[in-house]
């Protein structure tokens, strides 16, 4: 049981929730850019939330399935089709032998997640399947997927198939990431007070465009250079996903999934965990506004998301069991 790449996407990689426990060695966690949507995809196929998935950018790969499998796509909607028939986003799907999954246009979002029931048969590196692109290790051979790659599944599809041809299961996750929400909540950065009053106002009042020089490592913004009140050098210290740094040229960068473990640039703000998902679904050309919030609100929003995910996981498990039971398998 496997899926092959008939045509390679621009950047499709195996990712999971990240590789933790080794940042003290300079090994950054990698992982899915939008971990929320990754977990939605896994929920839809009845996987545990951290199971490895394929993270796709648009244009995505064209996939050929060698055997039946339960799959799902969540996160960005790239207008999927099976054998050229459009299939709806955020539904579990049963594909058959020789079915072709492809994606036609980026309707919304920047990263889509393909989950397969039971996950992929890959060798983890340091307990994670995430691809570390810089080091060339993890995931599938430490790199983006290429034409003719074949990814094996860990589990056989051993249900009775109700009919010939692919099936769209009749329920949808009620949590897509929705409209591209461009308001990003932040907490004040440790070096926020290095900014001049003018820069601080600029930070909160302006919409910033995400420039083309943006990728899994970070998003560079097109702000007017922000002057600071001191150039005192910052000794290297830890940074995180969502840290907004001020570079020497006065421009801002938001660190994303492939960020380095430590840095020495002033940190002016931190994007809250609950907004990492919407941030990950933005791309060059999109505009964002920063809004300050509190630790309390940040935690509330995150826990709400977690609860929603848990409910989704339970609901999907139940529906899948019911569906396959009725099929007599």
């Amino acid at each position: 049981m496997s899926v092959s790449i008939i045509k390679a996407g621009v950047l499709d990689t195996i990712q999971d929730l990240g590789r933790y426990g080794h940042q003290h060695l300079g090994i950054n966690p990698s992982g899915a850019m939008d971990k929320y949507s990754m977990q939605v995809a896994n929920a839809l196929v009845g996987n545990k939330p951290g199971e490895a998935v394929i993270e796709m950018h648009f244009p995505a790969s064209v996939f050929l399935f060698s055997k039946p499998a339960t799959i799902a796509v969540a996160g960005g909607d790239f207008s999927a089709s099976i054998n050229s028939d459009p299939v709806p986003h955020l539904h579990p799907l049963i594909v058959c032998k020789n079915d072709v999954l492809q994606f036609h246009k980026p309707v919304s979002g920047a990263r889509a997640y393909l989950a397969v029931a039971g996950g992929f048969a890959l060798t983890p590196w340091l307990n994670s399947y995430s691809t570390h692109l810089k080091a060339g290790v993890g995931g599938f051979q430490g790199r983006a997927l290429r034409k003719n790659d074949e990814l094996f599944f860990r589990k056989e599809f051993n249900h009775t198939i109700k009919k010939n041809g692919y099936t769209v299961l009749p329920w949808q996750a009620d949590t897509g990431f929705g409209d591209t929400q461009k308001e990003i909540n932040v907490l004040q950065g440790t070096e926020w007070n290095r900014l001049t009053t003018g820069s601080k106002e600029n930070f909160t009042m302006t919409s910033f465009v995400i420039t083309q020089q943006s990728d899994r490592m970070g998003y560079r913004l097109n702000n007017i250079p922000m002057p600071v009140m001191t150039n005192e050098e910052l000794i290297s210290t830890a940074v995180s996903f969502g840290t907004v740094q001020l570079l020497p040229d006065g421009k801002l960068i938001i660190l994303m999934a492939d960020h380095q473990t430590t840095g020495g640039y002033p940190r002016v703000a931190y994007v809250i965990s609950a907004h990492h998902s919407r941030l990950a679904q933005l791309q060059p050309g999109d505009k964002i506004r920063f809004r300050f919030t509190s630790q309390l609100k940040a935690e509330e929003l995150f826990m709400k998301q977690q609860q929603h995910l848990l409910q989704l996981q339970n609901a999907c498990k139940f529906r899948l069991e019911e569906y396959f039971h009725e099929a007599g398998s």
Binding site: Y20, G21, Q23, H24, L25, G26, I27, N28, P29, W125, L126, H132, K134, A135, G136, V137, G142, L187, T190, E232, L234, I235, S236, T237, A238, V239, S240, G242, T243, Q260, T261, T262, G263, R267, Y270, V271, I272, S273, Q295, L296, A298, E299, F302, M303, Q306
Partner: protein
């Protein structure tokens, strides 16, 4: 046994991490305390901690917010984690670096590997030989790893050969040995970088396939010794 000798304070690194900050300076005694704190926390293996990142003068703890909420009994996660960290740090701990190694690293300082060596010599009004002699006669402490898998920030480079990093990064090959001010380091992977490159080592500071993928760790002591191009090639093939 000893208690914390240096004052510290906490600051949030976003909503899911806390940094224990000892100040903004490079100081060997201070760094020993950071390394000891790191080992202490690692040993405790607190279940809600995802990651502990020691740096020159700080220690950052990334926590699992959902796991903390189950344990914190309604207290705000960040506050609760801070309390738990304080408990650990206030305990006596053993600042034990008996596990740290003295590592001797071979470096070829010949021209084809040492793109900036001449420039450093000229800038500091020394001969190339003198720069090499000064670089190889010190014992450096590994203060922290960061920036790339296996990149060790080492100090303290002798003032006589300390040159600031370049204003613009260039492409640097794996194994390159560099200087940036009072720090010295080795690029484990090819990367853009701004450090002044004075030589190259045939050793793999990062090897994904190895049981311990990273060669150095915070607290190790490093000495460099000069090798010829021929020895470099021999060592490269032997590894």
């Amino acid at each position: 046994m000893q208690h914390s000798q240096f004052p510290y304070w906490f600051y949030p690194l976003g909503d899911a991490a806390i940094t224990i900050d000892y100040g903004n300076r490079i100081d060997e005694q201070l760094n020993r305390e950071v390394t000891a704190g790191f080992m202490q926390l690692q040993q405790k293996a607190l279940p809600f901690i995802k990651e502990i990142v020691p740096a020159y003068s700080s220690l950052t703890v990334h926590f699992d917010m959902a796991a903390v909420h189950k344990l914190s009994g309604g207290i705000q996660a960040a506050e609760w984690v801070k309390g738990e960290l304080e408990k650990v740090l206030n305990q006596s701990f053993f600042s034990d670096e008996s596990l740290s190694a003295l590592v001797r690293i071979p470096v070829c300082y010949e021209k084809e590997f040492a793109t900036d060596l001449q420039r450093v010599a000229i800038a500091k009004k020394l001969s190339v030989e003198e720069v090499i002699q000064i670089h190889t006669s010190a014992t450096y402490r590994v203060y922290m790893l960061g920036f790339l898998p296996g990149f060790a920030y080492m100090g303290t480079t002798d003032e006589r050969i300390a040159v600031p990093r370049k204003p613009q990064p260039v492409n640097i090959s794996a194994g390159s040995v560099g200087i940036a001010g009072r720090q010295t380091g080795i690029y484990p992977l090819a990367s853009p970088g701004g450090w002044q490159i004075i030589g190259k080592t045939p050793l793999h500071l990062f090897n994904a396939a190895a049981a311990t993928p990273v060669f150095l760790k915070a607290g190790d002591n490093v000495q460099f010794y000069s090798i010829t191009k021929k020895e470099f090639d021999q060592l490269s093939h032997g590894i």
